[in-house]
């Protein structure tokens, strides 16, 4: 839907203060249902990490046995080899089990979160979707939920291993030689210290990095979407300068950031890397053996296990970033779920099809009293049952806004909109939409069969009823010419033109059979032959219902029972075509703008 006035749905402040008490973090709320399984996955991964040390320990023990004087105990040696293999296989099994448990838990979490998001989105005010709502919905439901995936399925289990493996390795090494163990610990402490320094600056910068990346994304989207304009007005560099600027800004930032943090990052990486830890602990071992403090055999254990002690530290950084990203994603999901839904009514059904707008004020602005941005400034209007009322006025006058309130896309800030004596807010959604129907300017067909698209409002309709509606909407013949007739999937197998889609949407409304109908008359994009068909179909549809039509062409609505002229959020005059022309005010001006000043009579009969 397009809005008549600038609309930016502001973030509601109450989302931040849930009833005074401190609520758990959005991430833990998301994780709650699968908490047990995530814990098992983490435990299994930790176990896998520790079991992964078993082969190394076996080799170290093997070396120890071999170096003992006298003939080696063959049975023991082969047992150690067998144990090494068993440990490796057990580690793999535990790891695989962790992967399966974690992914299945994550998969279930995704489905349930997506379902509740979808259900919630079905209840927030429709106004939320205008602007960039659909993009936000897709980001939350798809991208953000997937972001939490890597946390559940990978990061948390990995973290368990990152903690368990060094602890187990250290315990073994201390039992072998505490002096050498001190050297290994010194390496770890040094590396972690440097790493912490790199991260301290890095975390603040990480937010900046995300921002720079988002700028690129936004300008890339804009560049690609606006390529037609870019090319046409380009001067060939100018118009995509914004995209290139964002790209340069990002590259500059990336280089500056890495220049600032690389020395520490690289130092900590090196200190904890496998060749360095292995070489340094062996060199230290050579020194300690020479000093007579260590046994040569224990050096072997360190050459094997010191890297296992240090290496996990190197992945902490990326894991912390993943957790941050998942937290941010979870809070976006939580924000969406906190978006206040339209309160659901529980009142009775409307008595009749009489619609009353009573003192309706509305603003798209977050600051509801910002008078300059008020879209409706006190509208009183009665639609008598079975009559046609037309809203006319210049673009931005508030016509579409008023009509969308009848569809309860938003609730009025002040005043009421009622149908058959019942305030829209008291009607259950189902009742409301059975009573009030729409034919939109912006036709949306779903990627489903044509028949399903028509039967949208009455899923149980028979094929015969669907075809009758299509006939009444003057689209039956066209549907029969589609590759698979009524079973053709729209957009996949066949694209319908704008005029054809419009007639499908009219058929939809005919089948749904509401007693109040909102029409957004817009057929300018359709060629005349199609337009005639559409207007015939609309005439049929309108008959006998209470109709509110947003009219862009005055000629279309001269026969309306009532024409309400809107200006600046108010109804400035209303009456029949003849009455209004006779009054010689705003309507008469509009009429002459469209039909007057000689030589343009071609459109009048």
């Amino acid at each position: 839907m397009t809005q008549d006035t600038a609309s930016t749905t502001g973030k509601t402040p109450q989302a931040d203060t849930p009833a005074g008490k401190r609520s758990p973090s959005p991430l833990s709320v998301l994780l709650e249902p699968v908490r047990g399984r995530v814990a098992s996955a983490a435990a299994l991964q930790g176990l896998a990490g520790v079991l992964g040390l078993v082969p190394l320990v076996c080799v170290a023990e093997l070396a120890d046995t071999l170096l003992e004087p006298g003939p080696p105990d063959r049975a023991l040696l082969w047992t150690l080899v067998g144990l090494a293999l068993a440990g490796a296989v057990a580690a793999l099994t535990a790891g695989a089990a962790s992967t399966v448990v974690g992914h299945l838990a994550d998969n279930d979490m995704q489905l349930s979160v997506r379902r509740s998001l979808a259900a919630h989105l079905g209840r927030v005010p429709l106004g939320w979707f205008s602007g960039r709502g659909s993009g936000r919905a897709k980001k939350a439901l798809h991208d953000d939920v997937a972001e939490v995936h890597s946390l559940i399925a990978h990061t948390l289990p990995d973290l368990a291993a990152v903690v368990a493996v060094p602890v187990a390795a250290l315990a073994y090494l201390v039992s072998v030689d505490w002096r050498l163990a001190l050297v290994a610990v010194a390496l770890v402490v040094g590396g972690v210290f440097l790493f912490a320094r790199a991260m301290a600056g890095g975390m603040a910068k990480f937010a900046e990095y995300t921002r720079a990346m988002n700028d690129i994304n936004a300008s890339a989207v804009e560049f690609v979407q606006g390529i037609q304009v870019v090319k046409h007005f380009g001067g060939h560099r100018r118009a995509h300068a914004r995209f290139l600027d964002a790209a340069d800004a990002f590259a500059d930032f990336f280089v500056a950031w890495s220049r600032a943090t690389t020395p520490v990052t690289v130092a900590s990486f090196l200190l904890l890397s496998a060749p360095m830890t292995a070489a340094l602990s062996v060199l230290a071992g050579v020194g300690l053996v020479a000093a007579g403090w260590s046994e040569p055999a224990s050096v072997v254990a360190f050459a094997l296990l010191a890297p296992a002690l240090c290496a996990p530290m190197n992945v902490i950084g990326s894991r912390v970033q993943q957790i941050q990203a998942a937290k941010a994603a979870a809070s976006r999901v939580a924000d969406l779920l906190a978006e206040p839904p339209l309160p659901e009514g529980s009142g009775g059904a409307p008595r009749d099809a009489r619609v009353v707008f009573d003192g309706v004020r509305f603003s798209y602005s977050a600051d509801r009293r910002d008078a300059a941005r008020e879209a409706l400034r006190g509208v009183d209007l009665v639609l008598e049952p079975g009559t046609v009322t037309a809203l006319v006025g210049s673009s931005g006058a508030g016509k579409s806004t008023l009509a969308t309130l009848l569809a309860r896309f938003h609730d009025p800030v002040e005043g009421t909109v009622s149908v058959g004596g019942a305030d829209l807010r008291t009607l259950p959604t189902g009742t409301l939409y059975r009573t009030v129907g729409f034919v939109f300017q912006d036709v949306r067909l779903l990627r489903e069969s044509v028949a399903d698209n028509i039967a949208l409002g009455r899923p149980g309709a028979t094929r015969e009823e669907i075809e009758d509606a299509a006939r009444a909407a003057r689209i039956h013949e066209r549907i029969l010419r589609l590759p698979r007739g009524y079973d053709t999937v729209v957009t996949e197998e066949a694209a319908l033109s704008g005029g054809e889609a419009q007639r499908v949407s009219i058929a939809r409304a005919i089948l749904a059979d509401p007693s109040v109908l909102v029409l957004d008359e817009a057929t300018a994009s359709v060629d005349p032959a199609a337009e005639a068909d559409i207007q015939d179909a609309l005439s049929d549809l309108a008959r006998g219902r209470t109709v509110l039509v947003i009219a862009h062409r005055l000629a279309t609505v001269t026969g309306a029972d009532r024409i309400a002229v809107m200006e600046d959020g108010r109804i400035v005059e209303s009456g029949t075509h003849e009455e209004l022309l006779g009054r010689g005010r705003r309507y008469a001006d509009l009429w002459s703008a469209q039909h007057g000043s000689g030589g343009r009579q071609g459109e009048e009969q």
């Binding site: 397009t2 997506r114 890495s258 059975r434 990627r447 409002g457």
Partner: protein
């Protein structure tokens, strides 16, 4: 992969990238040397005289120091190169895209391009930083270690060398299997993402027809399918994931057993055997790490392939010596064109449009009206025939020069997320406020600006979504006017035009036609009536052309069309039962 990488980067950046990759490779080789040096040190240390280890320990210390310096340099360089890759790729893609014909930008390509410009580039940026180093470690380090092994024991070395191809094979197979699973999962995930967007965008309709109880929507089916699909694929992928790791560990155990066997057979001394086992463990380590980089590598390779596909797309050829057009006369000469071969959209279209005249393109939808305007602005090249501007074929004019001569008001108006003034200034960045006011008055944008609280400084939102359709259209007209081109193309079709806007558009068109060549895709009878010349297009051919009077007198297609139109306009919405005038006339 490296070739694709260097190709995507373009010739200017080959050297630093190649240096960075070479240095990384060399550091991995040196890592192998460091591991190999552990062998004589341990051999000496575990032998009868530990002091024999000392010279080797010195060598190890030196080797490690050199490795540290080299690795730091390469890491540092990789970060720098990453930054310049990001810059170079964005520029290359951006500059290339503006040269591609607009016909190339189909709906699905737009989504794909978004992915490339964001994810694709950032994956490629991290290639030298995060993707390549572990890969070099996994391939180069073991090879160097095995080579060194030959110096110590040829039998163990041979066994290792035999194992490497086996590992490579299992790695490739399991990687392929996992890749297939990922691709299949991406497909269901994409379907679910599409359905999410559809669900959000179709909310008005879904609600209006009571279809938001999520249990029955298509969205829910897609979500459930994604859930089931991911589950099934996971269970299939796990064995493939485990297969490689299992092989690595099996190989290590076998080599361990072989060493022990040789030792017990008496042909290998205990200290040597132990030192070699340590080397084996160390060289297996980067091999198991490789398993994790498989997926990352695959994504990087796919990303590169996609980037290269875009960079390979051919721009419209530019003339070697551009010929400036002589005047603003437009002529279509027997033009044939099709978007898909075999389905001609224009099938021999010829008509002139003289400066100082208004030419109305009319006819049923699908007749080729929009295509005519696109060919005039050279969004595509003709298959046969010629489009002449000022007597020169548009292909010989050069795109920059042509774009100075032709201004188009597009049917689907796109606005950038900036102020209204910025959006109008797109056509002429240096335009003064007086210029803006002048075009605003002619396009009706002045009224819009006056009504908005922030006036010219009103931000239009992403894609212009915070303005109404009519308001957007006026910005677009103002933009085209500001461009001040001698040839103007207007498309009247716009769903959101209101009565005043339409009248204004006709006025603007006739006004512009005083001193310019104006082509209008006309829907309003008033515009058609005001035209100097009408070109009636049907089925890709000019069915009729002439002045409005001539065509009405001819009483052919156009005259019939005008009558149908008048019947449509005779339609009245009333609450009363239909009177005779509202019924279709046979």
């Amino acid at each position: 992969m490296i070739r694709a990488f260097l190709k995507a980067m373009g010739p200017g950046h080959t050297r630093p990238v190649a240096v960075s990759l070479a240095l990384t490779t060399f550091a991995s080789a040196l890592q192998g040397v460091v591991f190999a040096l552990l062998v004589p040190v341990l051999e000496g240390l575990l032998g009868p005289d530990p002091s024999t280890a000392t010279p080797w320990a010195v060598a190890l210390a030196v080797g490690t120091a050199v490795y540290a310096v080299l690795k730091s340099t390469s890491l540092y360089l990789n970060f720098r190169v990453g930054g310049s890759i990001s810059r170079a790729l964005h520029h290359r893609i951006g500059d290339h895209l503006v040269r591609l014909p607009l016909g190339w930008f189909t709906g699905s390509r737009l989504g794909e391009l978004n992915r490339i410009a964001t994810e694709g580039v950032s994956r490629t940026t991290s290639l030298p930083v995060h993707t390549y180093p572990p890969l070099a470690d996994a391939v180069v380090t073991p090879v160097v270690a095995v080579a060194a092994l030959f110096l110590f024991d040829w039998r163990l070395a041979l066994a290792c060398a035999a194992c490497l191809p086996l590992l490579w094979m299992v790695f490739t197979l399991s990687n392929e299997a996992v890749g297939r699973g990922d691709a299949a999962r991406d497909t269901v995930a994409d379907e679910a993402a599409d359905r999410v967007l559809e669900y959000a965008r179709a909310q008005p309709v879904l609600r209006a027809f009571g279809r938001v109880d999520s249990a029955h929507t298509v969205l829910d089916r897609a979500l459930a399918a994604e859930h089931a699909g991911a589950r099934a694929l996971l269970l299939k992928a796990v064995p493939a994931l485990v297969a490689y790791s299992f092989t690595v560990r099996l190989v290590l155990t076998l080599l361990l057993a072989l060493s022990l066997h040789l030792l017990l057979g008496g042909t290998l001394a205990a200290p040597t055997a132990i030192a070699l086992i340590v080397l084996l463990v160390r060289f297996v380590h980067p091999l198991s790490a490789a398993a994790e980089s498989g997926a990352v590598l695959r994504m990087a390779v796919n990303g590169l392939a996609r980037i290269n596909t875009v960079l390979d797309a051919r721009p419209l050829p530019e003339p070697a010596t551009p010929v400036p057009p002589q005047g603003a006369e437009v002529e279509f000469h027997d033009v044939r064109f099709s978007y898909t071969p075999g389905e001609p959209v224009l099938d021999g279209v010829s008509f002139p449009a003289a400066p100082g005249t208004l030419t109305a393109l009319v006819g049923p939808s699908g007749g080729g009206k929009t295509t005519v305007t696109r060919l005039l602005a050279r969004f595509h090249d003709v298959d046969a025939g010629q489009v002449l501007v000022g007597g020169v074929d548009v292909r010989d004019i050069g795109s920059e020069e042509l774009s100075r001569h032709v201004a188009v008001v597009f049917q689907d108006v796109y606005l950038f997320d900036a102020t209204i003034a910025d959006n109008v200034r797109v056509a002429a960045p240096g335009a003064s406020e007086a210029d803006l006011d002048r075009v605003a008055a002619r396009s009706g944008l002045d009224r819009v600006v006056a009504e908005l609280p922030d006036g010219w400084e009103t931000r239009v939102g992403e894609g212009g979504t915070s303005l109404s359709g009519g308001q957007r259209q006026r910005v677009s007209i103002a933009r085209a006017l500001l461009k001040d081109a001698p040839i103007v193309v207007l498309d009247e079709a716009s769903a959101a035009l209101d009565a005043e806007n339409e009248a204004l558009l006709t006025e603007t068109a006739t006004d512009l036609a005083r001193d310019r060549t104006v082509l209008v895709i006309a829907h309003r009878p008033a515009t058609v009536a005001a035209a100097d010349r009408i070109v009636f297009l049907d089925g890709g051919r000019v069915a009729e052309q002439g002045t409005p009077e001539e065509l009405l007198a001819l009483d052919g297609r156009h005259a019939a069309y005008v009558r149908a139109r008048q019947r449509a306009l005779g339609w009245r919405l009333t609450g009363e039962p239909a009177s005779d005038t509202t019924r279709p006339t046979p």
